[in-house]
């Protein structure tokens, strides 16, 4: 229960930071800085720059993503912005527009 959940009808305009998993079902605008996993679920809408270790996008993201470990865009996911991470997974059916930097 140590997770943070942003429910589907919640709108946050500002910054979220922390050291635990974050599950987004609602709307977040601004900035997300995390040391753990970010899950953007189907109903989640994020208009923010994101810094985290792991992120899984099943909803919509507009903004740049920097991950220290992995970025995954699932089949239902939609991302617009630049992604920088050592591992990047884009599933079949996912929508993505932007730059990818795997630090090669």
């Amino acid at each position: 229960m140590a997770n943070t959940v942003i429910g589907s009808s919640i709108v946050i305009d500002g910054e979220i930071s922390g050291e635990e998993d974050l599950i987004i079902q609602g709307t977040v605008k601004g900035r997300i800085v995390l040391k753990e996993n970010v899950y953007i679920e189907e109903s989640g809408i994020v208009e923010a720059d994101i810094e985290t270790s792991n992120i899984e996008v099943s909803g919509q993201v507009t903004g740049n993503i920097v991950a220290t470990d992995k970025v995954e865009i699932t089949a239902g996911g939609r991302a617009v912005g630049d992604i920088k991470a050592p591992r990047i997974l884009i599933a079949d059916g996912a929508i993505f527009k932007g730059n990818v930097d795997m630090d090669v």
Partner: protein, 204 residues
């Protein structure tokens, strides 16, 4: 998982505006503003520095800021609030700490006494018509009460005597408290201050 519940976990900090139509539980930190149409719960350990507008609030953590609730604000024994509370129902339990104003809306403070007064006045006229002429100069008619009259032969004396007695025994006015009580009331040093820590710092 389907019912919408939002949790700000212990190690999460949110700064900015937070609004929504579902219950919100805060175990971590939130700074900015919160606007909800449901219930806000600040758990023990949760720290909120925000102006809040919700339907219900249950506060077991720390809140610095003003809170406005459509229904109720409940401060539990672990709750600490600095700010103003505005809600029709405000519950402060034993152990809760609070500093600020509480506004429960328009309260008719005179409501209860007024009803009794009008009732006794309504009963009076029956007697007032009986003996007005003789008493008129001696005392205002209003002051008379429906007291059983033992000597109907001298009706004029009664009303005159009664107001005088009333004046002699005034309502117990707000007397200054005895010094003992005043001294007692001085609160002990606030427990919140981390005196120990400060000392420890100086030593090192």
């Amino acid at each position: 998982m389907n019912e919408p519940i939002t949790i700000i976990g212990t190690d999460t900090v949110v700064s900015g505006n937070l609004e929504g139509d579902e219950d919100l539980t805060i175990e971590g930190r939130v700074e900015g503003s919160i606007s909800l149409s449901k219930t806000l719960t600040i758990e023990a350990g949760g720290v909120v520095r925000a102006n809040i507008n919700v339907r219900n609030a249950i506060i077991s953590g720390v809140l610095v800021g003003n809170i406005e609730a459509q229904e109720s604000v409940h401060l539990t024994e672990q709750g600490r609030v600095v700010g103003d509370i505005s809600a029709p129902r405000v519950i402060l339990v034993d152990g809760a700490s609070f500093r600020g104003n509480i506004d429960m809306g328009d309260i008719d403070v005179d409501a209860a006494p007024q009803t009794t007064r009008t009732r006794s006045r309504a009963a009076a006229p029956a007697r007032a018509t009986e003996e007005p002429t003789a008493a008129e100069e001696a005392a205002p008619v209003r002051m008379r009460r429906p007291v059983p009259v033992r000597t109907p032969a001298k009706p004029a004396e009664k009303p005159a005597a009664q107001p005088a007695a009333k004046a002699a025994a005034p309502a117990p006015a707000a007397r200054p408290l005895p010094q003992k009580v005043l001294n007692k009331k001085i609160p002990p040093a606030p427990k919140v201050r981390a005196v120990g820590k400060a000392k420890a710092k100086k030593k090192s």
